[in-house]
Symmetry: D2
Subunit: 162 residues, 4 copies
């Protein structure tokens, strides 16, 4: 059984056709799992629906608490890419020795757009979480990084080792 | 470095708008890697472009030979789902002890269709291949199966342990 | 008020992921009208769901009868492209002087595929039907043809004057 | 021959995956015509690429001038929906008696998104422009309005008669 925690991010942004702006409504996770014909046993829980630039320490404390209390030891977190690294580090610091495998992932383009990387990343994160040893990881660009050795390159938009 | 071997399958079927039928043209792999913002180092090689129901022993011998001679030890094979299990078993029998991690994947719906599981499966296969120990695996439905313990349920279309 | 008669055709073909074949289930018309943000008053009626190569004289008689009895004088018919011209001529012969504007349209690629011309053609047919004088027309490729002066070019897939 | 003048609007907005914002790059018109399998003879000219809320009197004067000097008497203008009515009225006032049929259209959702009404609206506008008498019109929601009898309902996002 895998626990999926939803925090928002580009993944779940939608287009408000009256205002012409991007906004959050519901998560697309269940639809994406259906599209991927996933047969994994998962529980999906939406913790928040925010842009990761607006994520506060209190929000991160909530995510940490949810991971700590999770009965499932395999956890995927969908998260905005801008501060995904910060959240990963906070999780790694708080949950060292907790015995859980936690994989954060996100998307550069909203799933609701035709050209999103979201489905690829979700398939990737759900796979890594099943086989990696306990620890906190990022799954982006087909690759997997440990929380302490990754940064987002803001010029290219790609994640890379540091 | 990961080697990707393309053999066709539903993954790469397209719609012929003059004949109203499905057919094979070029593989969508490079486009899918671009869409997934993949930053993995991969070499893509098209071995054949066929429906897996038409795959012969000679075709399987070719796939085995390509895997054996591959310098990369991580190999993903895109394959039709109907005989994916047979090819996986042939690979497992022929390459035991070869030290390579081989992951077969495919799709239930062509990538060219809006509702394909292909991108999800590709993200999944490319992730499993990076972390699993040597052996032959199937990555479908978000799950990973070893070659000797999987079958396709033809009623549901899902892969399951046997 | 516009009447929309559905007869099937490529427009409404779907992909059967178990059999790997194309088939008919329900019409996509209501979804397409929603996607187009259509505010036209329409009634949608499915007469049949068939490939137009399989359309019989009895089927055409049914379509003619439905047009004759329609209270709406503006009628759009979705139809396979292979015999769209034949049905248009049968309608023109049977309904001369009936005072109705009938526009047939279809698609070269199923709507369920990402690259379909269906939405474009539907927008086109619904527009032509509102402003053209009584008669039987084909709306394809952005153009409008009268029933007696059109043929499908089977090499190119385009409709043209003859 | 139909002239298509591009001014931007939601139609042509794209997602900037580095900034997470919407922006203009190139027009999608040629791609949309290809998708619609259009066989109309058209010339596409990009006049500006702006949000219609930012359209100035000078911009409108340019559009009017381009319509006046157009050799084609059938003109489609793609335009943001927020001030489409204002531009239509300016055109109607300036070009009365000019003998041209001008149809403005746009989209509520960017074409680059999966759920855009753009292709439907383009099929509609290109059809209306071929058959309507000289004048200035709006084609939205499957309907056609004359410039002096239309308003955008900002609550619903739909265009309606006034």
């Amino acid at each position: 059984m895998i626990r999926i925690l939803v925090t928002g991010g580009t993944f779940d942004k939608e287009y408000n056709e009256l205002a012409g702006t991007l906004f959050f409504k519901d998560t697309h996770l269940p639809e994406m799992l259906r599209l991927g014909r996933s047969r994994l046993e998962v529980t999906v829980r939406t913790l928040m629906m925010i842009d990761s630039l607006e994520m506060t320490d209190a929000d991160r404390a909530l995510i940490i608490e949810q991971c700590r209390r999770s009965e499932e030891t395999q956890i995927v977190i969908t998260h905005g890419t801008d501060t995904m690294v910060e959240t990963a580090r906070a999780l790694a610091a708080a949950l060292a020795g907790d015995g859980k495998t936690i994989v954060l992932t996100g998307a550069m383009v909203p799933y609701a757009f035709g050209s999103s990387d979201g489905l690829f990343n979700l398939g990737s994160a759900l796979s890594f979480v099943q086989v990696l040893p306990p620890g906190v990881y990022l799954a982006m660009n087909g690759r997997c990084f440990t929380a302490d050795r990754v940064r987002k390159n803001r010029e290219s938009g790609f994640f890379e080792e540091r």
